[in-house]
C-alpha cells in the first residue's frame, strides 16, 4: 500500500491564498472524491498532488518521499481537456509508447480501436482522445491516479464502461483514485470517501 500526503502545504496565486498550512492524506486502497464549491481550488490541489505545481511551503510526499523529479510521475493526472494534453504532432501510438509499452487488454477495455493508433489527435473525437489520455496514464503504472472531471468528454454509456474498468483496475493494481466531479450522483457511485476542501 502507498500513501500520498500533503504536509502543511500552503499555496497562493499572488495575493490569493488557496491553501494555508493544509495537511491531507490518501492511501492507495481508497477512491476519494474531492468536494468543494467552485473556485475553491480542486484543480490546484490536483496539480499539487501530481507535481505540476510546487507548494510555497510544506511538501507533497509519496510514501514519505518527495515526488521524483525525473521520469514518469507515479502520481498521474488526467484532466478534462484531452486536446491540450496530447502532442498534436505525434501519432497516438507514439504518444502512448513514450509513456510505456502498449497493453492490448487496457486499450481494449477503454474501447480504443486499433485503427486509431496511427491517427493524429485532430483526427479523433474528444472522447476518443480522452481514452488515450487514460491509457497513457495507466501505461506509466502509477500508484495514484487523479481524475479531474475526466468524463465530461464521454457519453453516459462510455462513462459507465470506463469507470467500471478504472475501478477494477485500481482495485487490482492497488492504485489510489482521487477524483473531481461536479456530478453528485457520480460521486456517490464511485467514492469510498469524500473530502470537503472547505473543512481543511
Amino acid at each position: 500500500m502507498s500513501v500520498l500526503e500533503l504536509q502543511q502545504v500552503s499555496f497562493s496565486y499572488g495575493a490569493k491564498t488557496v491553501f494555508a498550512n493544509c495537511s491531507l492524506s490518501f492511501d492507495s486502497h481508497e477512491r476519494v472524491a474531492l468536494y468543494a464549491p467552485s473556485g475553491r481550488g480542486k484543480t490546484t490541489l490536483c496539480r499539487l498532488l501530481a507535481g505540476y505545481s510546487k507548494p510555497q511551503a510544506g511538501q507533497v510526499l509519496l510514501d514519505g518521499q518527495p515526488l521524483p523529479q525525473m521520469g514518469p510521475c507515479p502520481v498521474q493526472l488526467i484532466w478534462q481537456h484531452p486536446e491540450q494534453a496530447l502532442d498534436p504532432l505525434l501519432r497516438m501510438q507514439t504518444s502512448l509508447q513514450e509513456a510505456g509499452p502498449l497493453e492490448e487488454d487496457v486499450l481494449h477495455r477503454l474501447g480504443i480501436k486499433p485503427e486509431w493508433l496511427t491517427r493524429y489527435p485532430r483526427e479523433l473525437s474528444g472522447g476518443e482522445m480522452q481514452r488515450f489520455c487514460i491509457a497513457r496514464a495507466l501505461a506509466v503504472h502509477p500508484q495514484f491516479l487523479i481524475a479531474d472531471e475526466i468524463s465530461t468528454m464521454l457519453d453516459a454509456l462510455t462513462q459507465v464502461q470506463i469507470w467500471d474498468f478504472l475501478c477494477s483496475y485500481c482495485d487490482e493494481h492497488e492504485v489510489g483514485l482521487i477524483l473531481v466531479t461536479h456530478s453528485q450522483a457520480l460521486q456517490d457511485r464511485l467514492a469510498t470517501r469524500v473530502v470537503n476542501l472547505d473543512s481543511l
Partner: protein
C-alpha cells in the same frame, strides 16, 4: 448559392418534412427553420495498406467506396477508401429553440458542427444540403456567415488563435466584453494574455464569451461546459435560453444530458452518424417514453439512474 426562399414555414408538427419530423411537444414558433440540415453525409479519404483483408471499421457507418490507385502509386499496395462517418443526417433548429444533440462519443457530433460552420479538412467529403434562414448554403457562404450570423463554441480549447491576445481575438464592443467577462468570472487582465497562458477552463470561458459577443442569430455550441464548474455551466445554459427566447436558435451538443435537459426544447439522439431519435425533453423523464433502444440505454447509463449498460458498445 441558391437564393430562392426555401419553402420552410408551414407544416404541422409531426408531419415529415425536409427528411425529418418533430416530436409533438417541440417548440415550433411559426414553424420557421433557422437551420436545416438535410441528408448530410461526411466522409474521409483514408489510405489503407493491402494486402491485409481490410475490414471497414466497426461501429462506423460505412458505405465504402473504393478506388484502386494506378499510375504513380501503381506499385504500392495502398488503396484509397471513403469512410462515411455521418450518414444521411437531417435535423433542424427553429427560431426560439434550443435543440440538444446528445449521443455516443465518436458518433459525428463535432463533424456536424464543423460542416455547419463550413470548416472541413482537405481529406473530408461533405454531401447534403444545409439551409440557413431558408437559404441554401455552400461552403463559402457558410464561411461568410460564420462569426456574424452563426457563432461557434468549438469543443477544443485549442481553437483559439495562439498568436493573438485574447482581447483582440474576442474583439467587439469593450463594454459588452467587460460585462461578459464579469459574468463568466474572467478578470480583465485576461484580455492581455495569449491563449497558452490560459487554463483549459479559462479558455472555455473565453470561447463562450466570443460566441455571445457579437450579434449572431444562431449559436452552434459543441461541448461548451467541460472545464466550467457547475454554477458557470448553469449560467451558460441560462444564457443560451435567454438567447433563444429572443427568437434566435441554439444547437447544443453535449454529453451532459442532465444539464441540457434543463434548458433545451428538443433532443436529438445521435448514434453512428445519424439521428436515431428526435424527442421532446419531457420524454427523458422515463425510459419507456423513449423510442430507440440506444436512447433508453443512455438513460439507464446516467449515474442518476442505474449507471449500467447492457451489451456491447
Amino acid at each position: 448559392m441558391d437564393t430562392q426562399q426555401h419553402l420552410s414555414s408551414v407544416h404541422t408538427h409531426e408531419e415529415a418534412h425536409h427528411g425529418h419530423t418533430h416530436a409533438s411537444v417541440s417548440h415550433h414558433a411559426g414553424g420557421h427553420h433557422l437551420l436545416q440540415v438535410e441528408n448530410l453525409c461526411v466522409g474521409f479519404q483514408m489510405y489503407e495498406t493491402l494486402p491485409q483483408q481490410s475490414s471497414p471499421a466497426k461501429g462506423i457507418a460505412c458505405k465504402e467506396k473504393q478506388t484502386k490507385r494506378f499510375g504513380f502509386f501503381s506499385r504500392t499496395t495502398t488503396r484509397q477508401t471513403m469512410q462515411w462517418v455521418i450518414d444521411h443526417l437531417s435535423l433542424s433548429v427553429h427560431t426560439g429553440e434550443i435543440l440538444a444533440v446528445v449521443g455516443a462519443s465518436g458518433s459525428g457530433k463535432t463533424l456536424l458542427a464543423d460542416a455547419i460552420m463550413g470548416l472541413y479538412d482537405t481529406n473530408t467529403c461533405v454531401e447534403g444540403v444545409i439551409y440557413y434562414d431558408g437559404v441554401k448554403q455552400d461552403a463559402s457562404s457558410l464561411t461568410a456567415l460564420r462569426g456574424s450570423e452563426i457563432a461557434f463554441v468549438p469543443q477544443s480549447v485549442k481553437s483559439l488563435d495562439p498568436l493573438m491576445k485574447i482581447g483582440k481575438q474576442i474583439g467587439g464592443d469593450p463594454a459588452r466584453r467587460a460585462e461578459l467577462f464579469e459574468r463568466y468570472s474572467l478578470s480583465t487582465d485576461v484580455e492581455g494574455l495569449y491563449p497558452f497562458e490560459l487554463s483549459g477552463g479559462m479558455a472555455r470561458r473565453v470561447l463562450l464569451c466570443t460566441a455571445l459577443m457579437g450579434n449572431p442569430r444562431l449559436i452552434i455550441a459543441d461541448e461548451p461546459t467541460p472545464g466550467l464548474d457547475l454554477e458557470l455551466a448553469v449560467q451558460a445554459m441560462k444564457d443560451f435560453r435567454t438567447f433563444a427566447d429572443e427568437g434566435k436558435g441554439v444547437l447544443l451538443i453535449t454529453h451532459d444530458i442532465e444539464l441540457a435537459l434543463r434548458v433545451a426544447d428538443r433532443v436529438a439522439v445521435f448514434k453512428d452518424g445519424t439521428v436515431v431519435e428526435e424527442t421532446a425533453v419531457a420524454n427523458f423523464a422515463a425510459p419507456h417514453l423513449l423510442n430507440h433502444p440506444f436512447s433508453r440505454a443512455l438513460w439507464h447509463a446516467l449515474p442518476e439512474h442505474d449507471f449500467s449498460f447492457e451489451g456491447e458498445l
